[in-house]
């Protein structure tokens, strides 16, 4: 394993130290492992807190800032954060209008956020939680842990963040978050596994011409292994999976997300194919993100997330945002 780390035990705090130095507009509590806006909570604004395992950067720490999150709680690599982090973040961002927890659907995240919600109630902070579960590779069923939360988290954080910034009350912010999640679907394809610092070798092995279809964002193997194909066919496999689950039509918000080890030039190639696919279905990529947003350490591959837009969601998507990883349209 060749990684730019000092010690497998100190990966997260060392990275937080760098994040803090690079972004004076954030307040990074390295001890408690929470990342906040330096400006602190705005009275009367709903606070947005997300969190999850590290290794998905820029998710979530890179999305803290004006128009998006108020706090992020990074756990150990691929391990959900713990309740004491989250309760501290929740308390810190509470401006009196309650706090929305944005939770990706993984047992660990769900359980730890659930404990946090109980603790928050004890502290008289009104907390609501939205569960993001957009990954169609996992079949949803009451007999399973349900779909994973992946790329749609970025959409939920951006759009709910914009509404919170506009001063909407908690139940409306929750509602729009749930709506974005309901309209969003993701599917990922891995060309390689990833290597966690703790393990030091790839979580799974893939042959020279093999890929994994339906990967998650933790180096989990996918649902099936398949032969490598041209970008056009891979984009089509992913889009078909999304379309089968929720037919694609109209103005669509599209993210072609790199898993961490894939160059941007390749993501643009995939995006071009996605645009063609959408056109076939009479839809179009009205808004888009192409780049590394929800990564899985050094994994090579991509995921596609789509979200059917309406006028209101488009306006909220377009609203100013100023975070390390997403920024546009902010008045200075």
């Amino acid at each position: 394993m060749k990684k730019l780390i000092n010690d497998i035990e100190s990966v997260v705090p060392d990275a937080l130290r760098g994040l803090a130095a690079a972004h004076p507009e954030l307040r990074v509590d390295e001890e408690s492992r929470i990342v906040l806006r330096a400006a602190g909570p705005r009275p009367g604004k709903v606070g947005l807190v997300s969190g999850g395992g590290s290794g998905h950067e820029p998710l979530h720490t890179g999305f803290v800032g004006y128009g998006m999150l108020d706090a992020a709680c990074p756990g150990e690599v691929f391990t959900s954060p713990v309740p004491h982090q989250m309760i501290e973040a929740t308390t810190a961002v509470n401006g009196g209008a309650g706090v929305l927890h944005i939770v990706k659907n993984y047992t660990g995240d769900v359980l730890n956020f659930q404990m946090t919600a109980e603790l928050s109630a004890e502290e008289n902070i009104e907390v609501a939680a939205v569960l993001v579960d957009d990954d169609v590779a996992v079949h949803n069923s009451i007999h399973t842990a349900g779909r994973r939360g992946t790329g749609a988290t970025v959409f939920v954080e951006k759009i709910a963040g914009a509404l919170a910034e506009a001063g909407a009350p908690l139940r409306e912010v929750l509602r729009v978050a749930e709506e974005v999640n309901a309209r969003s679907r993701s599917f990922g394809i891995g060309l390689s596994s990833c290597t966690t610092p703790a393990v030091g070798k790839p979580t799974f092995d893939l042959g020279d011409a093999e890929i994994e279809l339906g990967i998650g964002i933790h180096g989990e193997p996918g649902r099936t292994r398949a032969a490598m194909r041209p970008a056009r066919d891979l984009a089509r496999i992913a889009m078909d999976a999304l379309h089968d689950d929720l037919p694609i039509s109209g103005d669509t918000l599209v993210m072609v997300n790199g898993m961490g080890g894939t160059p941007l030039i390749e993501l643009y190639i995939v995006f071009a194919e996605v645009v063609d696919y959408l056109a076939e279905k009479g839809a179009r990529a009205a808004r888009s993100l192409v780049g590394n947003y929800t990564t899985s350490l050094d994994m090579q591959g991509f995921s596609i997330t789509t979200c059917r837009l309406d006028d209101r969601l488009t306006r909220l998507w377009d609203a100013p945002v100023e975070t390390p990883a997403l920024r546009w349209g902010r008045l200075t």
């Binding site: 150990e76 691929f78 959900s80 660990g108 359980l111 404990m115 399973t144």
Partner: protein
């Protein structure tokens, strides 16, 4: 089984989880995200200084402390689950000076209930519950059969181990392994393996 016995149990868990860390992580690499060993080792390693500092004098306080420390330090699915289990056991045992096997059964049942309340896993879902329930059943059977404490605990440890091994052919329906669908078949559940370790540690202490 007095507070010192339980303290020895926890120490033995700390030791064996550390020794078996890589094996647990390897199991998790096959069906999960390759962190179970690291998670538990981080959590139990944090327990030692906490206990040294606080020196809880009742079994209940001890186990609650262990549970809280796991919740604070593990994260992931296993942190809240094991954390809650130790907390619930602690609540049941309270300041009982000398815990009988029957009382231990009650405490473990409470721990299991905590786990199931949080995670809603039932037997056959390919989780740590599949090691825990057989262990509790074996212990309860031993109580009914009136066997000696040491023998009862040995039976529980054997049942936990068998339960963990029995997860190999199962199709996961809870936790990350469930994402794999049929590909989860053929691998031992890492949480079940760590539960078996925890009972093996109990057995080690009981046979001292």
């Amino acid at each position: 089984m007095n507070a010192a016995f339980f303290a020895s149990w926890i120490e033995e868990i700390i030791r064996t989880v550390h020794v078996e860390r890589d094996r647990l992580t390897r199991l998790d690499a096959a069906v999960g995200d390759a962190d179970h060993g690291a998670n538990l080792d981080r959590g139990f390693a944090a327990v030692a200084p906490v206990l040294a500092a606080k020196q809880p004098d009742t079994t209940g306080a001890l186990l609650k402390q262990v549970g809280d420390t796991l919740i604070r330090n593990v994260g992931g699915a296993s942190g809240p689950l094991y954390g809650m289990a130790f907390r619930e056991m602690g609540k049941v045992l309270g300041d009982t000076p000398d815990v009988s096997v029957a009382e231990l059964c009650t405490a473990l049942r409470a721990g299991l209930a905590g786990i199931q309340k949080l995670g809603a896993a039932v037997e056959g879902d390919k989780t740590l519950v599949d090691a825990l329930i057989p262990a509790i059943r074996a212990l309860e059977q031993a109580v009914r059969d009136g066997v000696k404490q040491q023998e009862a605990i040995a039976a529980a440890a054997a049942a936990a181990l068998a339960g963990a091994e029995a997860t190999i052919p199962m199709l996961a329906r809870k936790g990350r392994a469930s994402y794999l669908g049929p590909r989860s078949v053929g691998h031992e559940d890492p949480g079940a393996a760590s539960t078996a370790l925890i009972f093996a540690a109990l057995n080690t202490v009981a046979t001292r």
